[in-house]
């Protein structure tokens, strides 16, 4: 794709000792961040990570952690303007009724 975002900002962490090599992370990651080698997952392209949280959400062994969210400037600016916190903002994609998350 040859499209990259800022380097060295991703909060993705892999606790290798907890990994069983099941390959779920490889399956769900939309940016090819992981690879399975020697029955363990490895992060092979950390700067490709967009912190969507698909891997940590679906790692059954708690080996992955990431401060996930949506990389959307509109939502963050709205968050700062309305609540003083970039993490609390919403944008059009939050749905007509923004009553928070359901999970």
């Amino acid at each position: 794709m040859n499209q990259f975002y800022l380097r060295g900002v991703s909060t993705l962490k892999l606790a290798s000792e907890k990994c069983t090599g099941c390959g779920r992370c490889v399956e769900v990651c939309p940016h090819g961040v992981f690879d399975i080698n020697d029955r363990r997952a490895h992060i092979i392209a950390l700067d490709n990570c967009m912190e969507c949280g698909a891997c940590s959400q679906n790692c059954a062994f708690g080996a992955l952690s990431v401060k996930s969210g949506v990389g959307c400037a509109t939502a963050m600016i709205n968050g700062i303007l309305t609540k003083g916190d970039p993490d609390l903002g919403t944008c059009d994609c939050s749905g007509a009724v923004s009553s928070g998350t359901c999970c």
């Binding site: 991703s10 940016h31 959400q57 990389g71 959307c72 400037a73 944008c91 994609c93």
Partner: protein, 340 residues
């Protein structure tokens, strides 16, 4: 024994394709927010108890993609209530989630309509759905299918295996071009308000607001503004990989600066008025940069940590830029009043 005729309890067909709708939702935000279908169980073709179950969002454009891909096939489609939002955004914002799948499974009584216990989810829903939690809560096993609906047939025919290519998100020039109107429309609205106020201010004379004078004063700013929307909402999406820098705010600044220099060189009123020239050279790159920065929300690869890092540097600059621009605008306006 003659079996009593079963009353028709088949789920409704997924609504037919809607080309006009698929175009309109790319242009009008109002239309897009209502471009949804009722959540629940649907079908494509005539699925049996053994047929696959696809799970998707209730954004009509999403459903249309699924329908187009699955033409001439028989499949159940469980449509979640994502409030009319696409799969990936809904998963990110928490409406395409484990609990909602359980809710729709119960409401549709899918368990009694299929003989298997497998759901096929779009890969991009994985950021909202926990497969093992769902299995515990419903007894259904999740398979994460491909990212794009158009790959579903190949995925199914390949015994539920997706190639690495199907698992990678793309962002081609065609994908990016489709997003341009939705970037440009809000920018044009903001610009319109500013230009209207500017025109009124330029038109003020001792005898009232004169239209001819308003036009004479504001037209260079109209050109400058439209140029900024082009360099901020048009060029960054289209030329994304070719514009220098990784930060979107920087990309938009670069294109905006080129636009500003062009306006300075080609517009005589800008070239000859030092305040107007300075206003264009500050406001145009700043406005362009801001629009490009907002495009982060539409891309397939920007991370929240990255956007936050950009925000920290860019936001103070935007505020400063806006302040300086207003002062320069006021100066240009004052001079216009005095000499016209």
């Amino acid at each position: 024994m003659i079996a009593s005729p079963k009353c028709d309890t088949a789920a409704p067909h997924l609504p037919p394709l809607n080309f006009m709708g698929d175009v309109l939702c790319r242009v009008s935000d109002k239309f897009r927010m209502k471009y949804s279908i009722k959540p629940g169980l649907y079908r494509i073709g005539n699925p049996s108890q053994e047929s696959n179950v696809l799970v998707t969002a209730n954004y009509r454009l999403t459903c249309n993609h699924v329908r187009k891909a699955m033409e001439n096939r028989n499949v159940h489609v469980l449509v979640l209530n994502t409030r009319g939002i696409n799969v990936w955004c809904a998963a990110g914002k928490g409406t395409f989630c484990t609990a909602e799948i359980v809710r729709q499974l119960t409401a549709s009584d899918l368990g009694s309509k299929v003989s298997h216990r497998t759901l096929i989810l779009p890969q991009l829903s994985a950021s909202g759905v926990n497969a093992s939690k769902l299995h515990k809560a419903s007894g259904f096993t999740i398979k994460f299918g491909p990212i794009r609906a158009s790959d579903i047939p190949a995925y199914l025919d390949n015994n539920f295996s997706a190639t690495p290519d199907m698992r990678r998100v793309r962002f081609s020039i065609v994908d990016r071009a489709k997003l341009v109107p939705m970037e440009a429309v809000p920018a044009l609205k903001t610009l319109g308000v500013f230009l209207l106020i500017a025109a009124i201010l330029f038109g003020i004379t001792r005898t009232g607001i004169i239209f001819k004078q308003a036009l004479a004063g504001v037209w260079p700013i109209v050109v400058a503004g439209l140029t900024s929307v082009f360099t901020g909402s048009g060029l960054p999406p289209l030329l994304l990989p070719f514009i220098p820098g990784r930060a979107f705010s920087f990309k938009g600044f670069c294109t905006g600066l080129i636009g500003a220099v062009a306006v300075f060189l080609f517009l005589q009123p800008v070239r000859t008025d030092v305040f107007l020239a300075a206003f264009c050279l500050v406001a145009m790159p700043a406005f362009s940069s801001y629009q490009a920065f907002l495009f982060t929300g539409s891309t397939t690869f920007t991370s929240p940590s990255g956007v936050k890092a950009e925000l920290k540097i860019a936001l103070p600059l935007y505020l400063a830029g806006a302040g300086i621009s207003l002062v320069l605008f006021a100066a240009a306006l004052y001079r216009f009043w005095r000499f016209s």
